[in-house]
Symmetry: C2
């Protein structure tokens, strides 16, 4: 069994260069290509990846860094969907993927990635407002695509949604339903999504001339903070709660029910993300749908494009979001539910 290009060249009676061309789709006469391909298939030849990488400067492998605790990673379908999208898009171009999960320190992760050296590019989740890993990656000249972005990342390539606009839209939806004391349970502090959703909420409230002070309680994107946040807001008196994500909203629903209050009659509840379970909460949750899987796909495509054409201008993608209205804000039957 042939192990090198030279052996293959000998077997098929052409030069090494020609075999290389056949493998990489270079210009070769039809006749030669057929002959070499035949030998290629017969021997099951696989070119040595390290040698290709060394000679060509590209490895065909990209890194994906999702720096969250594995606990969260495997619990939140958000990441699962993201990964799925990326692997699909990468596989289309036969690009390998190395995955870094968040179980080491950011500095260690960064060092490892850069030290490793054989990556063509990196996709990294940039959800923190302040993230040395992202900064390091951007500074490293390694082609990098962010999922999410900070203000300062204006000339990096990224895929994101417009959190401010979406939160504004949701808040306006609640205002439009004649809610006046609308509380907000925020996302984790120092995350882009968290802060931007606060801004969007604040914008809508201000525009409507409604007060928001005292109506914002801090959460952390987890169900527990939804429970406690809702308790606090109920005490202060609210007729609607906009939660920074669906998990938080699930917690809020629990607390409200425990208080024997009715959703949405007494208190309307809204979430953000539209993860699978949102439609199956009781009552089904009004939320903002963001296509997480699509974000993964788009991020991968963006990176591949960046690789194909280095020095190309950064590509910034803002994916659309959608207000999904269900019964947690508007009573009665909605969205094709059984009568």
């Amino acid at each position: 069994m042939a192990r090198t290009l030279d052996e293959l060249a000998a077997l098929s009676g052409v030069s090494r260069s020609t075999v290389s061309r056949v493998i990489n789709g270079g210009p070769v006469s039809e006749e030669t290509r057929r002959r070499v391909t035949e030998v290629l298939e017969r021997t099951g030849f696989r070119p040595n990846a390290a040698a290709r990488t060394l000679a060509s400067g590209r490895s065909g492998v990209v890194g994906v860094v999702i720096h969250v605790s594995p606990h969260l990673l495997f619990q939140d379908p958000y990441f699962s969907a993201l990964l799925q999208g990326m692997t699909d898009a990468l596989a289309e171009r036969a690009t390998g993927m190395m995955l870094w999960l968040g179980n080491r320190s950011k500095q260690e992760t960064l060092d490892q990635i850069l030290w490793m050296g054989l990556l063509d590019g990196v996709i990294v989740t940039a959800d923190q407002l302040d993230d040395p890993l992202v900064d390091g990656l951007l500074a490293s000249h390694l082609p990098t695509v962010l999922i999410g972005h900070r203000r300062a990342d204006g000339n990096a390539s990224y895929v994101d949604i417009d959190n401010v606009a979406a939160a504004d839209l949701m808040t306006s939806h609640l205002i439009g339903l004649n809610r006046r004391r609308i509380g907000h349970i925020t996302g984790r502090r120092r995350t882009v999504a968290g802060e931007d959703r606060i801004i969007g909420y604040g914008n809508a409230m201000a525009r409507a001339g409604l007060p928001s002070e005292g109506l914002i309680v801090e959460g952390d994107f987890r169900i527990g903070s939804g429970r406690s946040g809702a308790l606090e807001l109920l005490e202060r008196g609210v007729d609607a709660i906009f939660c920074a994500n669906d998990a938080t909203a699930a917690g809020a629903l629990e607390s409200i029910r425990a208080h024997d209050l009715c959703v949405p009659d007494d208190v309307a509840v809204a979430g953000f993300d539209d993860l699978g379970f949102a439609a199956h909460l009781d009552p089904p949750l009004t939320t903002i749908r963001q296509g997480v899987q699509a974000q993964g796909v788009e991020a991968a495509r963006t990176l591949l494009e960046l690789l194909r054409d280095r020095g190309r201008a950064p590509r910034r993608v803002i994916l659309p979001t959608e207000l999904v209205i269900r019964r947690s804000t508007v009573g009665g039957r909605k969205e094709g539910e059984p009568e």
Copy 2:
């Protein structure tokens, strides 16, 4: 900034070979080492991974293949724990990891891994009785460690638990509590764990002279099959149910409660895995604890050892399991629960 060994050699006034020795810990005089190290740090030099791999034949990267549907992957903490264990152990030796999740066909995955070529070795979950991916990997001469193993994998390296013995132990525990009609909800068909747990259950029943026919219903490791399986077994009349894993047991508990039966007085329930939630079910679940994270660690270590010393005999590790008794089989207070 230095980019190659030669540049570094020039900067520090030694030969390329010497710099290479300093980097790789070869024999170098103290004085030289200090001088070169200084330059190394000052320039932040990183050796080219592809070149090292090509020259040395090792890449310092191993593959991890967890071929389950992403849905399951991200839902079941089992995999999360496994990954965590592996990444920890691999990081100790600065070994990179490429991850293949189960979103492509097995054949595709196999091809990609082998084609990629730059892996030093692979860890793969071998839970299916019949798995072309595992077969292909074992046949490929790529150092491979299985997590779980089939009968035929006798001379591969693997990390596993003794499912037969553990299931036997659990069943005997139930028998020892004077249960006589003990049902079993199996794991997914054609998985090693599923089949072996049936065998262990059967062994214990036979030894005690108890009948098991009609008391085995097929499940699939998921909560749904626990619900339906329990319903079926309740109809046939049982005083205990041994479920193939904790998720199934959770489902069984639901159904039993829905029938207004009491656990464990009317029906005892036992699971397998001791995942985090098992202790928090109502009532807390008697189960078999297997250290999943430890399995990950052990698998990684085994592979690293295999790599250090090729041609070494395969290493087979059977990790211990433990019967964890909680209130789902034995009433009253147990295991440090509040009074």
